[in-house]
């Protein structure tokens, strides 16, 4: 790891001024950034610690729930407002990482965490995301964890977050601030597809800071579920995960939200599948139909073809859980 400077931001303005300079990076919980620095994947000249800024709050607003960027993943997952209003988010958070990591990890850090693609982490290997133009090591390599949706010829990595999958399903909005003031970016549009620029994970502009996330109130609390399929019972990234939220009335589905993790460069919202559920009975048949629709356009690589089977099965399973049928 190369030598770097460390400063603690005293205020939001302070932080913004610091990150305006190239080579400067924000550090929050450090659970991802420090690993990347140790592996030489990123080598900032200066770290700005924002953990002392007053951005930890979780509060109900008139229209929803506001969560500050520095609220810890563990705290959010156990917060009574979150549990009452948005249990899906709590479930998604609890499915992520380990208790030790969740005790350090922050909301903004979780959104900004980088892919776990092995080739991205190993600086001796080619990787367009780490070093544009070097090629994609995973494309013809060990791509068991990689994308089946929205990949490009440049990069087939997935975004590893569980929290973001929950937030994407719940129509959350990311609040960011920068020199030009505040912006609100829907969670579903926060991350981007790799295209020709896999080095860019998301649409946060240089010099911008995430300050929090807002989830609009909804009627999903009763019927939501986060299913994470992984190689061990805890502390493993998703092979496939599904956030499912239903608003069911008289046995019929009034509204549905579905998003997947472990399948794309961003939390993969399944808009068409959602639409197919509206007005349908909350039965396995409806769920299976939605799962089939969700899989349109999926494309697998040598080691991740199983996702083509696992993903629809998981969507159906998650919907059954959400509907209370399991």
């Amino acid at each position: 790891m190369k030598q770097f400077q460390y400063v603690r931001a005293a205020s939001q303005q302070d932080a913004l001024a610091a990150i305006a300079k190239p080579g400067t990076k924000i550090i929050a919980g450090g659970t991802n950034l420090v690993d990347l620095m140790k592996r030489g994947v990123t080598a900032p000249d200066k770290l700005v610690d924002i953990t002392h800024l007053p951005l930890k709050g979780i509060a109900a607003t008139k229209t929803g729930l506001h969560i500050g960027t520095l609220a810890l993943n563990s705290v959010v997952s156990e917060n009574s407002l979150v549990l009452a209003k948005q249990p899906l988010l709590a479930m998604a958070l609890k499915a992520g990482a380990s208790p030790q990591l969740r005790n350090m990890a922050t909301v903004g850090g979780n959104m900004m965490q980088r892919t776990r693609c092995s080739y991205f982490y190993d600086t001796t290997m080619p990787c367009n995301k780490r070093e544009p133009g070097t090629g994609c090591g995973a494309m013809e390599g060990y791509n068991r964890m990689h994308a089946i949706f929205g990949a490009s010829g440049q990069c087939i990595a997935v975004h590893p977050s569980d929290m973001c999958v929950g937030l994407a399903a719940l129509d959350a909005v990311v609040i960011v601030t920068g020199k030009k003031g505040e912006r609100r970016i829907p969670m579903t549009e926060f991350h981007r597809l790799p295209g020709d620029h896999p080095e860019n994970d998301n649409h946060l502009a240089p010099g911008e800071l995430i300050i929090g996330v807002e989830i609009p109130d909804n009627n999903f609390a009763k019927n939501s579920y986060y299913l994470k399929v992984r190689d061990r019972q805890s502390y493993a990234f998703a092979l496939v995960s599904v956030a499912a939220a239903l608003d069911i009335s008289g046995g019929l589905i009034k509204q549905a939200r579905l998003a997947m993790g472990g399948v794309a460069h961003k939390p993969w919202r399944l808009f068409e599948a959602e639409k197919s559920l509206i007005g349908k009975p909350a039965t396995e048949d409806s769920f299976k139909n939605a799962a089939q629709i969700a899989m349109q356009g999926a494309k697998a690589y040598e080691y991740n073809a199983f996702k083509l089977r696992l993903a629809p099965a998981s969507i159906t399973e998650a919907l059954k859980h959400a509907a209370g049928a399991v």
Binding site: R116, Y142, V229, L310
Partner: protein, 708 residues
Amino acid sequence: MESKTMKTPSVPEGMSRVDGRMKVTGRAKYSAEYAVKGLTYAVMVGSTIAKGTLKAVDTKKAEGAPGILAVLTYFNAPKVPGYQGDTPPPKGPLRLFYDDQIYFNGQPIAIVVADTFERALFAASLVSATYVKGDHQTDLKANLANGITTRKDYLRGQDDAYKTAAVKIEQEYTLPTEVHNPTELHATIARWDADDKLSVWTKSQGVMASQRNIAQAFKLEPTNVRVTSPFVGGAFGAALRTWPHEIAAVLAAQVVKKPVKLVLGRADMFTAVGYRPQCWQKISLGASADGKLTSIVHEAAGQTSAYENFTEGVVNISQLMYACPNVITRYKIIPLNVNTPTPMRGPGEATGAYALESAMDELSYALNIDPIELRLRNYADTDPDSGKPYSSKYLNEAYKLGADWIGWDKRSQKPGSVTENGWLAGYGMGAGMFGAYRSNATVKAIMMADGSLELQTAVTDIGPGTGTAMATIASEVMGIPGDKIRITIGDSSLPPSPTQGGSSVTSTVGSAVNDACKELIEKFKQLDSTATGNLDYVKLLRDHNLTQLDVTTTSKGGPDMAKYAMYSWSVHFIKVLVNPATGVVKIDKAVSVADCGRVVSHKTARSQIIGGTIMGIGMALMEEAVIDHRYGRLVNNNFADYHVPIQADIPQSEALFVNKTDPYINPIGAKGMGEIATIGVAAAVANAVYNATGKRVRELPITPDKVV
């Protein structure tokens, strides 16, 4: 969680670990933790190609970095004296900086020594190398035709019995490379005390062997090399030999003329200290319609490095486990551009048992005979290979204990037919065996004036509770409480003991403790020939004006070792739940039953067995080191991507013991149990998955993608 303990009543609970408090309070010092004065820090740099010739190593930037004391490479390092002069055998251990050849990806090509660890690590990142790349091979399956036979093929009975068998099973099974990954990273501190005198603190399973190896490498008198390793944070075989990084630390200390500490990083743990080699196996079983085995053919091909032949007893279990008249085994090794494997808990046998016990399960379904019944029909009452009687074997009792605990009667012979809360439920079993050994050890027993006893021997305790077993035996023989006994171990200057491995330490060292204590009692009796019953050691010492009384006793394996076939036995029962939608396998219950002679200390024995079961579950469900063959380089050499079981994967599990004394192996009647704890577990899990789902996964690990 509900916990049902069915301890065999006659097993004594035993004392808590003598070093337990030290370990949980951080007072137990591991190799990296010695605050040796003037310490400097070394970090190794690994090659980034898997085969080729090293052309140059650019160390300029590293040498210019702050705090750097030395950067050693093949091009500038002094030759390790023990390497010089000897005609290099065609194959042998990796010799650090000996030539310019690269045999595997991650091979050490430089060591950086600095005044702090961080500076060494940083400078190491500045070292780069140029190579002439060779054409590497790392893919076992693609190289199955390139095997070397180093162990003779085995034939018992007819070589064509399989052809005429009434019922046949023929299947291939593969096991990926598994890495020991103990919690404690390998670490070495080397300090030259004089030109010909060396002190080494290192993670080692055998300080005497380390002493020999290091002395040989640096052409020193063994007695001038002191190797210390009193606490070992798990090893499982990974510290059975002296590795290049240990030589590197000693060499670096010689160059910088200061003590050097070298701690491996987690990624290094995958390439610097060995692993369980991946292995391809094929088993053909022939049986009569009533379930009597008529033929076993077991073939295996395991990987080794390009520079050293590593072999293990993968196919032995097929020669020994069942009373089958006709057995053929063939074993070969495939040299690849990887580092050399090393024994990992239940070495070879665990690999072989996975295949044999899976095939036996497949046969049980083909015959429609209960898997336990099938094993009983082929039960060996004498050693099928030598014809010798067993020193002891109660495996049939173990079957019964385990079957009762798991609720085997709830198992359906029809796969995929039982569900519990929407999950498919299944039961499986698998058995294991491992040779029971006893070698020589010397123990010094010292009775102090205050009535406390000190036991000294060089043996290391890698976690099974060797020290605790020693104290337990001494406490029984001497009739003094365990807390009056002090154990001093893990130092080559102590009386000689064997390396911790092969499940032979309690048998060997425990026997030596037993013999030493008995001799010490005799010595006390000589002080006062009228003394009877419980001796009052304190009074006897006081009466004779003695500050202490000691004996040093060497204890050896007895003549019975040749007359009997000596093995420890185990059987594992597993209940799994499988999610029919996602293919996720959850262990619902696990029990391992050991027939390991007399159980010396129940508490440590239980944790030893449960630890072994967990290792077997990891082998079955998740452990796999993956190489990208294009680069010949590992892609999951870290704890996020290389999965070992965590708490949530391990449910209610139990260890049961037959606990019957082996009358012949040694005076204490105890056989080994460390290896059998793991041998057979993976098959039990795979068999349970089949019973639950009707899906037979013959390629470990059984991850959800293979089941869904």
